[in-house]
């Protein structure tokens, strides 16, 4: 098992820069998710770690050893592909045993290791089946088996659940996390699905346009987003942004929001007047007649235990998560009250989070 360190990694194709100078460390045994929209450079980063692409600049260290320009095969890492990439001309057992065959291991030992791996994944009964006969989930298990059988230093997974249907994806999420807890292998998991990342990962790196915007635990990334992008990308519905203009003083516990004062977590930096955004998660909004921000109910989306109520305000449309027992009339004018402890402030120009008592410690990429 290994620690993976990325230093100033950059990759450009002709004029297009896919990854720009990211630096981070993935600790031994961590389940590390790289999350971001398509084209954000997460897969390219993963492929560089695997050795399937060579970086334009920067270094990749595996357990302190510089492997930046090593051949993929020389890195001792395993890769699980979104499309599984099971060899169609081999059966399940041969597929799982293939990496060992590449290494020139004896036939007996291969058989034992394949058996052991299959037992772990509960696919022993499938060993002699054709890969084309398998269900999506079983194919994914075989692909995992092929990665595990070699006991590599790290697992790299490129949207491994992306090709499964929703029900199976949920099941496999649980299985993957369970597997990780048992074998404790360093895992780098690329996904664009925040639910997968949030439910499985120890650490999440949120990427955008080739840059790592924030690295943190799922809680950190959700509660203390380092940028508007992260705040917007994570959470469903995403964080609401209410624009205003104003200056900030360190130590203040309120901001002038248009014509009222709104309580916010203690501000930890001074700023001249600039366009800002007040960030509020839908679940931190209450309906109160005395609320400073007023608006008209536009619609409600019933989700079982909760409902998402959208309200048109003078500062834009705001989504609030309320208990589904609350009765709301469309067209009704209501007041909104925010949970002051959980508010976030962003600088619209740079998109960066303003340091406050609650956002302190959110690491930037």
């Amino acid at each position: 098992m290994a620690q993976i360190r990325i230093e100033n990694l950059r990759k450009s194709f002709d004029q297009f820069t896919a990854v720009e100078g990211s630096t981070f460390t993935i600790d031994d045994g961590t389940f590390f998710a790289m999350l971001g929209p398509s084209g954000c450079g997460k897969t390219t980063t993963l492929r560089m770690i695997a050795g399937l692409e060579l970086p334009t600049e920067g270094k990749i260290l595996l357990d302190g050893e510089d492997v930046t320009f090593h051949r993929a095969a020389a890195r001792d890492i395993a890769f699980v592909f979104q499309l599984f990439a099971l060899y169609p001309h081999m059966n399940v057992g041969e597929n799982i045993g293939f990496p060992l065959k590449c290494q020139g291991m004896g036939r007996r030992e291969i058989r034992e290791r394949v058996q052991e791996t299959a037992r772990m994944l509960r696919i022993e009964h499938l060993l002699s089946s054709k890969t084309s006969k398998l269900s999506g989930g079983d194919r994914q298990r075989v692909a995992l088996g092929r990665a595990m059988v070699r006991r590599p230093k790290a697992f790299l997974m490129d949207e491994p659940l992306g090709a499964l249907d929703a029900e199976f994806r949920h099941l496999m999420c649980g299985e993957l996390r369970d597997l990780h807890d048992r074998i404790k292998a360093t895992t780098v998991y690329v996904t664009h699905d925040q639910l997968e990342a949030m439910s499985m990962a120890d650490q999440i790196a949120v990427m955008n346009k080739g840059r790592v915007e924030q690295i943190g635990t799922p809680q950190e990334v959700y509660d203390r987003p380092a940028s508007m992008f992260v705040a917007d990308f994570i959470g469903s519905p995403p964080m609401n942004f209410l624009r205003f203009e104003g200056g900030l003083r360190s130590g203040d516990r309120a901001v002038s929001f248009h014509d009222t004062r709104l309580a916010v977590p203690e501000i930890r930096e001074d700023r001249a007047s600039a366009p800002l955004a007040l960030g509020v998660r839908p679940e931190h909004i209450r309906f109160a007649d005395a609320g400073a921000v007023r608006g008209e109910v536009f619609g409600a989306e019933y989700l079982g235990t909760t409902q998402i109520v959208t309200v048109d305000t003078a500062y834009g449309r705001v989504a609030a998560r309320l208990s589904s027992s609350a009765s709301v009339q469309i067209g009704e004018t209501i007041g909104l009250e925010f949970n002051a402890e959980r508010l976030a402030l962003f600088d619209i120009g740079s998109g960066r989070a303003i340091r406050t008592a609650s956002a302190e410690g959110a690491r930037h990429g």
């Binding site: 194709f13 695997a50 050795g51 399937l52 051949r71 993929a72 095969a73 890195r75 890492i77 395993a78 890769f79 592909f81 979104q82 499309l83 599984f84 990439a85 099971l86 060899y87 169609p88 001309h89 293939f98 990496p99 590449c102 290494q103 890969t131 084309s132 006969k133 999506g136 092929r146 070699r150 090709a163």
Partner: protein, 320 residues
Amino acid sequence: MTAVATKSTAHSIVEASPRTKAFAGGFVILYAVITILPLLWIVATAFKSQSDAIAYPPKVIFEPTLEGYVNLFTVRTRQTPEFIAKLPPPETWYDKLVRKRDMVIAGPSKVVPRFVNSLIIGFGSTFLAVFLGTLAAYAFSRFRIPLADDLLFFILSTRMMPPVAVAIPIYLMYRQLNLTDTRLGMILLYTAVNVSLAVWLLKGFIDEIPREYEEAALVDGYTRLQALRKVVLPQAVTGIAATAIFCLIFSWNEYAFAVLLTSGEAQTMPPFIPFIIGEGGQDWPAVAAATTLFVVPIVMFTVLLRKHLLRGITFGAVRK
């Protein structure tokens, strides 16, 4: 109204109507007759005697003889009946056959070396074209090659005119290089013509094989070449087989260059067959026999590779 409705439900979209079936069947039979009849005529002519072969009206029913084949494989001289009577009795059935026509066998004809030339040149150039084509197609499909589109266009442009259009310059070039009438020269020439077809066909097939297969193999411990050989090629077999058949058909049948560039040593079957001369002109049964034999390898090759032409080898392993 109701009658129309019943009629339309009775008409199945899956099952063709009897009339359509009959028409389709008739069409297929007609097509088969048109394409197979000349071939059958050739096969039959090879078993006719010289006079039956040129009889008018053509004879459909005739007494079969192996004379055509014997004439194809031998060189014969005419002798007087007295001379033949003095000879010891014929040792083989073909000696006997030849003596009936007042002739004796003087030696083997050139058909075997010509056939061997065709085999070597045809299969040699096919192998080379497919081999080079596979490597080039793989590179074009997988690597970022500067000016890849232009290069592919250049490769295709060699097919934009009939190859014979450049026959004279090639002839002059070959004379300088001492490649005229050599097997190597013919192999190189046919390879050059076929390789562009091979690159384009194979690129299409390789493009369809997901990269993930090789990448998985690369991560699992193979080198690029091993991955190509053990992972990509088994899946490209369909495309390679199809490409090989096309290349072989071209180099096997090629006539114009063969006439121009070969005369002795390296002559292939196509320029040889029309000049099989018997007594008093063209020996039609022998020509037909040669043609029959000439068709056999290509039919065998196609039949052997037929099962690889069926798609579906890669089907289901990857979700598209």
